[in-house]
């Protein structure tokens, strides 16, 4: 499947369980390199995840985030979704259907919070802490919203694009670069 399918309607994959669940809530579906992606709004995330868990997606294999601040125009999103700076990406897995579905949630820079999935998938606990640590996106109602990889007193969120990579200045080379 290729890029022209990226904003295709739900019935492109009529057999897909996740797409049917998504269509009930009016969540846009897209495909990235053949992988199914749902785009719930922030307030739809927990409900969508709960519905999917009840439909057989019993485990959350991954939760991470992306800071799109320097590549706003180059990402394919369905038309009804307004791009924001951050995106929380959740990969869930159905053992029964042997399928993966990805949820991409837009999170604005002005309000970097997201509802927690801890009560739907307890396994997201460490992953949400990691996103909080490295991106500064706080997950509401998460039981232990603290830094996990960086020291507790660390300032800044390293995986944000405006956080410098840190380098030693080199004589004769004033051109910026990582090394």
């Amino acid at each position: 499947m290729t890029e022209e399918l990226s904003s295709v309607a739900v019935d492109a994959a009529p057999d897909s369980f996740a797409s049917r669940v998504a269509s009930l809530a009016g969540i846009p579906v897209s495909f990235s390199r053949g992988q199914e992606v749902l785009h719930p709004r922030r307030d739809q995330l927990v409900d969508a995840a709960t519905a999917l868990r009840n439909a057989g997606f019993v485990t959350c294999s991954d939760l991470c985030a992306t800071d799109y601040s320097s590549a706003q125009e180059s990402r394919p999103l369905p038309e009804s979704i307004a791009p924001e700076r951050f995106e929380v990406v959740v990969n869930i897995l159905s053992l029964e259907h042997r399928r993966r579905v990805r949820l991409r949630v837009q999170v604005p820079e002005s309000d970097p919070t997201c509802p927690t999935l801890f009560f739907v998938y307890p396994g997201t606990e460490n992953m949400e802490r990691e996103v909080f640590d490295l991106f500064g996106i706080a997950f509401d109602d998460h039981p232990d919203m603290t830094r996990i990889l960086m020291p507790p007193e660390w300032e800044g969120h390293p995986l944000r694009k405006d956080y410098g990579v840190g380098r030693v200045p080199v004589q004769f080379k004033d051109a910026p670069g990582p090394r």
Partner: protein, 454 residues
């Protein structure tokens, strides 16, 4: 509760612990199977939710803390059984572990940030250093993700070489685990045995890839070099030896009363709980869920080889041991089939935009020289998009989420590290057990801290 108040005010922590701990002792020690797993996790908080520096306060670390018997101690980060720099905060009542909290990050070197500064060609050298006990699985996952973005088709021989190396890597990782697990359970013989077997594999890796670890052998577009001459004999000699040595492990440990005593019925996790905690790999399979990505969502050519998915029954430490030991045997089966069926052909894709031309061509072809130069200065430029690819590493689902903005560097590389996720199950495994068993349980989870912290 903010960390500041917690550290300065022991009474506040005490109050929180009182609130969070169960008052009913029967419920506290009941097997997790009898309680709703979600309930155990959310309400009782299998996890100790205290700030990481709480025990730095001398008032909290003595035995007068809490009701006079309950105390918090640290296991690690400098402890031979923690497999690196893992620190466990354990809440103890006598010798019984109640809640615990793994504290990680001591090895965090920002590899995901580094990956954004490296081109796709350089990227494999970075990811291979994450899980240092199975570097080939990391490279494989990264390369498959880049190839999914590029939508290139691999030649058959490249796929089968990758499969051979991935399975040898799995054997390598599992024998090393068996060695360190033996050491944790006071069997130094097992440690020597495991490292002896590992060395044979590392020698073969050195012969094939040039280095013993951190190979950068599996790269986007194929593998770095073809297998060395006579590789079949080497590989068969190695797997024949290891197969007979695994029988030795059986004799040494499996039937040994002390070993069984320390592992059977210790650190049980139910299938529902393991799934809820996103655990994968031997932890999930030991609890009876036949979920192995090689079988369930085949990649490479795993649907063309014959092997069994090993599952346990109750998910205790012994089951995890047995699953890993038998996975060595299954990997040996796969390796033998790969040796038999290895196709001829290219070991990397013949696309000048993805892989460099052969060295000899550079001297005679201007075009080859240009492609070579462009590949190593600019690199691969996959079209925009994002992709999540997962492989079954020795520790579970190793995933790679890769976002491309069309440039020659990944816009975002996230590695779903199985050890990082599996560590979440540790508080559930330790809960209600003895502190002496904590070492055995931690060892059976097989965390690799390079991958946990990245």
């Amino acid at each position: 509760m903010t960390p500041e108040t917690a550290v300065t005010d022991p009474a506040a922590i005490e109050k929180v612990i009182e609130e969070e701990a169960t008052t009913d002792p029967a419920a506290e020690f009941a097997p997790e199977a009898l309680t709703d797993p979600m309930q155990v996790l959310i309400e009782q908080g299998g996890v100790l939710r205290l700030p990481e520096d709480a025990t730095a306060d001398p008032n909290l670390s003595d035995s007068s803390f809490g009701d006079g018997e309950r105390m918090i101690i640290n296991l690690g980060p400098q402890h031979p059984s923690t497999h690196g720099v893992l620190r466990m905060m354990l809440e103890l009542e006598g010798e019984t572990v109640l809640r615990s909290k793994p504290i990680i990050g001591y090895l965090h070197t920002g590899m995901e940030k580094t990956a954004e500064e490296l081109t796709y060609v350089q990227g494999a050298t970075n990811v291979t250093r994450m899980d240092y006990l199975s570097p080939l699985a990391n490279e494989l996952c990264f390369s498959l993700a880049v190839e999914a973005l590029l939508e290139v088709e691999m030649p058959a021989r490249a796929t089968w070489i990758r499969m051979l190396m991935a399975e040898l890597g799995r054997i390598n990782s599992h024998v090393t685990w068996a060695a360190t697990n033996g050491m944790d359970l006071a069997s130094t013989t097992m440690m020597i045995f495991g490292f002896r077997e590992r060395d044979m594999l590392l020698s073969f890796f050195e012969k094939t890839t040039g280095v013993r670890m951190n190979h950068n052998y599996i790269r986007p577009g194929g593998v770095a070099a073809d297998l060395p001459d006579g590789w079949q004999d080497d590989v068969l000699a190695i797997v024949d030896t290891i197969e007979s040595r695994v029988d030795d492990y059986d004799q040494l440990l499996t039937g040994q009363p002390i070993f069984r005593e320390r592992t059977e019925g210790v650190g049980i996790i139910s299938a529902e709980l393991a799934l809820a905690m996103s655990a994968t790999g031997p932890i999930l399979r030991a609890s009876g869920v036949p979920w192995d990505l090689r079988r369930s969502m085949p990649y490479l050519a795993y649907e063309k080889v014959d092997f069994d998915v090993i599952v346990g029954t109750i998910g205790d430490t012994f089951d995890r041991y047995a699953v890993r030991l038998n996975e060595i045997r299954e990997s040996i089966r796969i390796v033998r089939q790969v040796v038999e069926k290895m196709p001829a052909g290219d070991y990397r894709v013949q696309d000048a935009k993805v892989t460099p031309p052969p060295r000899a061509r550079i001297d005679e072809s201007m075009e080859a020289l240009i492609h070579h130069f462009k590949l190593f200065t600019r690199g691969i430029e996959p079209p925009e998009g994002e992709v999540y690819v997962a492989v079954e590493s020795p520790r579970g689902e190793l995933g790679c989420y890769l976002v491309s903005d069309g440039s020659n560097k990944p816009y975002r590389l996230h590695v779903r590290a199985p050890s990082f996720v599996n560590l979440q199950s540790v508080p559930a495994l330790l809960r209600g057990g003895l502190i002496a068993d904590a070492v055995a349980i931690l060892s059976s989870v097989d965390p690799v801290l390079g991958e946990v912290d990245r």
